[in-house]
Amino acid sequence: MTGPPGMDDAGSQRIRPFLGGTDPAAVRPWSPAGPLTGPTALRPYVMTGGRVQAADPSIGIETQVTPRRDRLVPPLPAEQAAIVALCTEPISVAEISARLGLHLGVTRILVGDLRAAGLVHVHTQDATLSHSPEIILRVMRGLRAIS
């Protein structure tokens, strides 16, 4: 890939250069268990006790987390306490990650741990929800209301 193409380069741009590189078999689910390279990749997992495989795949980046008001929160490690404190109203895993400056993968693991400890609700949903005409129409209605 060199500089930007001009009009007269259009012919040479017809064939997508990546077509040969991404056969469907190469599009595999991302696994957090993949090889970690370098200290920047390793360091966040100190907070999770070194675990990299504990994230529940059903906990997505958009998954909503809400508090369990029926539980008294015990003393927790700083990051987990911060997550519980953020969940005063429904909040996504991605927002928790961004607001606390936590790696997304680490956030998913910690949120799963808090659910296992009975301290938060994690509202996982079926991946097929996005294929439902009713829910698509609902999103369209909401967007049309934006001016």
């Binding site: 990546f18 993949g34 996504s92 991946a127 294929h131 967007l143």
Partner: protein, 194 residues
């Protein structure tokens, strides 16, 4: 735990749309134009395939890398939020985005008409992932370097994939682009159901 699943009508639901495209084409601008919060950034670990032109014909090299992802939020109604995730646009890497695309309504690939080649990887990925797709050409200063039919031809997108012009800075324009994507998603959903 069953009652936490979407079967419970009281459970808060969330859906997402992926905003893809090359570096600097206006993904974060588009997210910011429609988001009710200032775009936030999260860091995610991804497996990247180095699939640059130089490597054509060779087994692609795989590396795990940390990438920054900008995202925004739109509240649809009391029980449903829509998230817009801008996927990273590194030039020479094809990310394996399955973790992000699972459960997504679809993807908008933002294209700078002066740098069409930067968007090849994203168009290719989302087509292979089978996500409803719209190609949105960001009309910087209201101008396109090529007309839409030329862009469709150059990007070699399927005939049923909408190619539209939009202005990433304008909320109404971003909203209409998302609605075009949802029209497409609805068609796919009805087809799958019949």
């Amino acid at each position: 735990m069953d009652y936490e699943r979407s079967a419970d009508h009281r459970a808060p639901k969330a859906l997402k749309i992926i905003i893809g495209g090359g570096f600097g084409v206006g993904k974060t601008t588009a997210v910011g134009a429609i988001s009710e919060i200032s775009p936030l950034t999260t860091e995610a670990e991804m497996t990247a395939l180095s699939i640059g032109v130089d490597d054509a014909g060779f087994e692609p090299g795989k590396v795990t890398t940390t990438v920054a992802m900008d995202f925004g939020r739109v509240t649809i109604d009391e029980g449903l939020k829509l998230y817009l995730f801008g996927t990273p646009g590194q030039h020479r890497f094809g990310f394996m985005w399955s973790d992000l695309t699972l459960g997504a309504l679809g993807a908008v690939v933002v294209v700078d008409s002066r740098r069409l080649e930067d968007s090849h990887a994203a168009v290719d990925y989302f087509e292979h992932a089978g996500l409803p797709l719209v190609v949105a050409v960001n009309a910087f200063d209201g101008r396109l370097a090529h007309d839409l039919s030329e862009i469709r031809w150059a990007l070699a997108v399927a005939d049923d994939v909408p190619v539209v012009a939009f202005d990433a800075r304008v909320r109404g324009s971003v909203r209409d682009t998302l609605l075009t994507l949802l029209d497409r998603a609805l068609l796919v959903a009805y087809r799958a159901a019949s």
